[in-house]
C-alpha cells in the first residue's frame, strides 16, 4: 500500500538498455544484447527496494540507469514528480498499455489518436522531470543525491589515493567548503561508518574487504544523498562482516531517511533488508511484491525455483528442490515469448509464443506469467511440472515460509 506521506523519489518507466553487438568486416550491427528490456518501478523515500536475479539478468544495469551512469536506449525516469503528475503519468501509461507490443512476432497495434496524445503528454512531462533530459550541468547537483555503493570493495577505491582524498573528492567536485572543512567532513564521515579517523591517512590496500566497503559507503554519504543504489554491497564479504555492514546500512537509513535499491542475488540478505522486492530474469521484471508476500507466496515459477535453491543453514530441514533445467540463456538471443520458458518447470505451449503481460494479481503483487492470466489465483495452487517434479506454491494459509517439509 502506498504510504501517502512518503514522496516518490524516482519513477522509472519502460527502461530499456540495449548494447549493440558489432561484428563482421565492417563492424555491422549484428544484434543487441538486451540487458534491460522494459523495467518499471518506483522508489519512495525511506524505503528499501530489493532487486534480485542471477548474473546476466540486468539488475546491475538497472542500477546504473537509475543513476544515469549509462544512458538508456529508451524509457523515462522521472525525478521527484509531484503527486498529481505522478498520478497523471500512471493514467497515461495505462492508456498506452494495449499498444506496447507483447511477445515477439506480435505486431503492435497502430496508435490511436488518444495514444498519440498520451505519448506527447508524457514527453512534455519528461522534459520537465526526466532524469535523462537534463543537461550534464544540471545533472551535477543531482549526483550528490543519487549515489551508488559498488560490489567489489577492491576495485571501487582508486589504489593511488589516500582515503582522505577519496572521501573529499565528491566534496571537491562540488566545491563544497574549503579544504580544511572538507577534511573535517571526511573525518566525520569516517566516524559515521565506524572507522577510525586515523584511517584517513592510509591507502585502500591496507584495509580488509569489510572496511573498504564501509569506506565506499562513506563516500556515498559525502554529499548527503537521498537515494543510494547498493550494488551487491556484501557479496564479496564474509558473513559476520556482512552482518556489520548491513546493520550499518540499516542504522544510516533510520537516521537519515535514505532510500535504497538493494541489488543482490542473495535472497536471504534481500529479505532481511528490503520492504519490497523485484525479481528480474533476462532483462525483465517477472515478479514484484512486498517482501513478506514474495517470500511466503511466490507466484512466478522462477521465483519459486530461486527460493528453493537457497541453501538453508539447517541440516535437518529437508525440502524438495526445484531444479531448473540448463543454464541462463544469453541476453543477446533471448528465447521467444516468455523468456523463462526454456527452463520453466511449468511451461505451457503459449509460453513460447507470447510474452506474458505484467499484471497485478494480488494487492501490491505483480507477476508476468501465463499461469496468472488475470486475477488472483486460488490458494494452494499446484503447479504441474514437467519431469515429474511437483512444487507447491503457497500452501493454503500455511505460515510455512518456503516449500518445506520436515
Amino acid at each position: 500500500m502506498k504510504d501517502g506521506t512518503s514522496a516518490t523519489i524516482l519513477v522509472a518507466r519502460n527502461l530499456r538498455k540495449y548494447f549493440p553487438i558489432r561484428g563482421g568486416l565492417l563492424s555491422s550491427h549484428l544484434g543487441d544484447v538486451r540487458a534491460v528490456d522494459g523495467v518499471s518501478f518506483d522508489i519512495r523515500e525511506g524505503e528499501t527496494v530489493g532487486l534480485v536475479g542471477e548474473s546476466g539478468c540486468g539488475k546491475t544495469t538497472v542500477g546504473r540507469l537509475l543513476l544515469r551512469l549509462i544512458e538508456p536506449t529508451s524509457g523515462h525516469s522521472f525525478y521527484r514528480p509531484p503527486p498529481e503528475t505522478e498520478a497523471r503519468l500512471n493514467t497515461l501509461y495505462d492508456t498506452l498499455r494495449p499498444f506496447t507490443g507483447g511477445g515477439d512476432g506480435g505486431t503492435e497495434p497502430p496508435l490511436t489518436d488518444e495514444a498519440r496524445r498520451a505519448l506527447e503528454e508524457i514527453d512534455a512531462i519528461a522534459d520537465q522531470y526526466s532524469l535523462y533530459r537534463r543537461s550534464q550541468r544540471k545533472m551535477r547537483p543531482l549526483r550528490g543525491k543519487l549515489q551508488i555503493v559498488f560490489q567489489d570493495p577492491f576495485s571501487s577505491l582508486s589504489p593511488r589515493q589516500l582515503i582522505r582524498d577519496i572521501l573529499t573528492e565528491p566534496l571537491a567536485i562540488h566545491h563544497v567548503g574549503s579544504r580544511s572543512e572538507r577534511y573535517r567532513r571526511a573525518e566525520e564521515l569516517v566516524k559515521d561508518v565506524g572507522l577510525n579517523p586515523d584511517h584517513l591517512w592510509r591507502f585502500p590496500h591496507e584495509f580488509s574487504g569489510g572496511q573498504r566497503q564501509r569506506i565506499g559507503v562513506a563516500r556515498a554519504l559525502a554529499l548527503a544523498p537521498e537515494f543510494i543504489v547498493l550494488d551487491e554491497p556484501t557479496s564479496a564479504l564474509d558473513v559476520s562482516v556482512q552482518a556489520q555492514v548491513l546493520n550499518l546500512l540499516r542504522v544510516l537509513q533510520a537516521e537519515r531517511g535514505l532510500a535504497y535499491l538493494f541489488i543482490s542475488h542473495h535472497l536471504s540478505v534481500v529479505r532481511a533488508m528490503s520492504n519490497r522486492v523485484l525479481v528480474m530474469y533476462l532483462g525483465k521484471v517477472v515478479e514484484e511484491a512486498r517482501t513478506d508476500e514474495l517470500f511466503t507466496r511466490p507466484l512466478h515459477p522462477y521465483t519459486q525455483a530461486l527460493l528453493s535453491a537457497i541453501p538453508i543453514p539447517d541440516p535437518e530441514l529437508k525440502r524438495e528442490r526445484i531444479l531448473l533445467k540448463g543454464d541462463v540463456p544469453s541476453p543477446a538471443a533471448p528465447p521467444s515469448g516468455c523468456r523463462f520458458h526454456t527452463r520453466c518447470p511449468a511451461v505451457m505451449p503459449v509460453c513460447s509464443k507470447v510474452d506474458p503481460p505484467y499484471l497485478q494479481v494480488r494487492p501490491d503483487h505483480f507477476v508476468a506469467c501465463h499461469l496468472y492470466p488475470e486475477g488472483i489465483p486460488p490458494k494452494g495452487a499446484t503447479i504441474p511440472a514437467g519431469d515429474g517434479q511437483i512444487a507447491s506454491a503457497g500452501m493454503a494459509g500455511a505460515e510455512a515460509p518456503l516449500v518445506a517439509s520436515h
Partner: protein, 386 residues
C-alpha cells in the same frame, strides 16, 4: 591463492606523537624501495645509473679546453718520427700524413673549441703534462676536430643523458596525454587520434628524423649549437610519441572500466578530472617499461644518424661532431671502413678503443636503466608484492 597478505588496519592505531603522522607517501616509498632492494639486478642498475649521473654532473663542471694539435703517427709514417712511440709535432693545419696518424694536443693556446683525443700509449713518460691514457684520436681531417676519448666519454655522458631523457620524457608525456584522451573519449576522437598515431608509426623512424631535421634546419633560429640539439630532440620526439600513445591507450581502456572511475562519475566528476586524477595515474604503469627501453635506444639512433653521415651539427656551427656517446661510436666506426681497404694485414693499428669505450658506456647505460625499471615495475605491482 589466499595468503592473508593484506594486513587489515587495526581499530586503534598507534599514532606516533600527537598530530604527527608518518607521511604515508614516504612509507609507500620505503616499502617500494625494500622490494627493489631484494632485486639484485635492479640494485646494480641503480648503482650504475647513479654513477653515470654523477659523472654527468661532474662533466658539467668541466671547462671546454682549447688546445692546439699535434700528430702522433703509427707505423706508416713520416720519416722524421719514430713510428709508434713518439709524438711528432707538426704545425697546425697540416693534413695528417697517413691513415694511422692521429692528432694530439699539446699544451698551449689553440683554436679548436673542443678537446682532442690522444693516442694510447703505454709509455708512461708521455703522461707528464700531456696525453692521458686511454686516449685515442678520432680523426676528422675535413673538420679539424678531434675528441679526447676520455673527455668525450665524460661529456658524452652529459649529452647522452640529457638528450635521451628529454626525448623520452617529452615523447612519453605527449604520447600519454594523446593516449589517455583517445582511450577515455573513445568514438570518433579515438579513431582520429589512432589513425594519426598509425600514420606516424608507418614512417621509418630514421628517415623521418632526417627529413624533419633537414627541413626544419633552414628555419631561422636554428643556428646555435644548442638550438641544433633542440632540433634533434624535437625530431626524435615527433617520431617517438606514438609508441607511448598506443601503450597508454591500451591501459586506459582497462582502467576506464574500473569501478573507482565509475564512482567518480557518480559523484559528478567531469571528464578532465577523471582523466587527470584517476585514469592517468593508474595507466602510466606500462610506460615505465617502454621508457626504460627507449632511453637506451635513443643514443644508438643518434649514432646511426651520424654514421650515415648526417651532419647533426653542420660545419657552419661548431665542429661537425659533438661528443655524445652514440655519435662518438659512430664516428669512430667510419674510418674503419677505409682502414679495411687500405691497410695491409699487420700494419694497421685498429683503434678499437675508439668505439669500444663509448659503446660500452652506452651499453651499461641502457642495461642499467632496463634493470632498474624492471625492478621498479615488479616492486610497484601490487600482485607481486610479497
Amino acid at each position: 591463492m589466499e595468503s592473508t597478505g593484506t594486513t587489515p588496519a587495526e581499530e586503534s592505531t598507534t599514532t606516533k606523537g600527537r598530530g604527527r603522522r608518518p607521511n604515508p607517501h614516504v612509507a609507500q616509498f620505503l616499502r617500494t624501495f625494500y622490494y627493489l632492494r631484494r632485486n639484485g639486478l635492479a640494485m646494480f642498475g641503480l648503482a650504475v645509473i647513479l654513477i653515470l649521473v654523477g659523472i654527468a654532473l661532474y662533466a658539467l663542471t668541466l671547462p671546454i679546453p682549447t688546445q692546439s694539435l699535434a700528430f702522433y703517427c703509427g707505423t706508416n709514417n713520416q720519416p722524421s718520427c719514430v713510428p709508434g712511440t713518439q709524438i711528432c709535432t707538426y704545425p697546425q693545419g697540416v693534413v695528417a700524413p697517413g691513415p694511422n696518424c692521429y692528432q694530439t694536443p699539446v699544451s698551449g693556446g689553440g683554436v679548436s673549441s673542443y678537446p682532442s683525443i690522444i693516442a694510447p700509449t703505454f709509455d708512461l713518460a708521455h703522461f707528464s703534462g700531456g696525453p692521458l691514457p686511454l686516449g685515442s684520436l678520432t680523426v676528422d681531417p675535413s673538420h679539424n676536430a678531434f675528441f679526447n676519448l676520455y673527455d668525450g666519454l665524460l661529456r658524452g655522458s652529459d649529452w647522452s643523458l640529457i638528450i635521451s631523457i628529454s626525448i623520452v620524457l617529452s615523447g612519453a608525456a605527449i604520447g600519454a596525454i594523446v593516449g589517455a584522451v583517445a582511450g577515455t573519449f573513445g568514438g570518433l576522437i579515438d579513431e582520429v587520434l589512432m589513425r594519426l598515431v598509425d600514420i606516424f608509426l608507418s614512417i621509418p623512424a630514421i628517415l623521418f628524423v632526417i627529413v624533419i631535421i633537414a627541413v626544419l634546419q633552414v628555419l631561422p633560429g636554428f643556428t646555435s649549437f644548442d638550438a641544433r640539439i633542440g632540433l634533434l630532440v624535437i625530431g626524435f620526439v615527433l617520431v617517438w610519441w606514438p609508441f607511448y600513445a598506443r601503450i597508454v591507450r591500451g591501459q586506459v581502456l582497462v582502467v576506464r572500466e574500473q569501478k573507482y572511475v565509475e564512482a567518480a562519475r557518480a559523484c559528478g566528476a567531469g571528464k578532465g578530472r577523471i582523466i587527470m586524477r584517476h585514469i592517468l595515474p593508474n595507466s602510466v604503469y606500462p610506460v615505465f617499461i617502454q621508457v626504460s627501453l627507449d632511453v637506451g635506444t635513443i643514443p644508438l639512433f643518434v649514432g646511426t644518424l651520424v654514421f650515415l653521415g648526417f651532419a647533426v651539427i653542420p660545419t657552419t656551427i661548431g665542429s661537425g661532431i659533438f661528443p655524445e656517446w652514440g655519435s662518438i661510436t659512430a664516428t669512430s666506426v667510419i674510418p674503419l671502413i677505409s682502414l679495411l681497404t687500405t691497410c695491409q694485414f699487420g700494419q694497421c693499428i685498429v683503434p678499437w678503443w675508439q668505439f669500444f669505450f663509448p659503446g660500452f658506456a652506452l651499453f651499461m647505460f641502457a642495461i642499467s636503466v632496463n634493470f632498474l625499471s624492471d625492478g621498479l615495475r615488479d616492486a610497484l605491482d601490487p600482485r607481486l608484492r610479497r
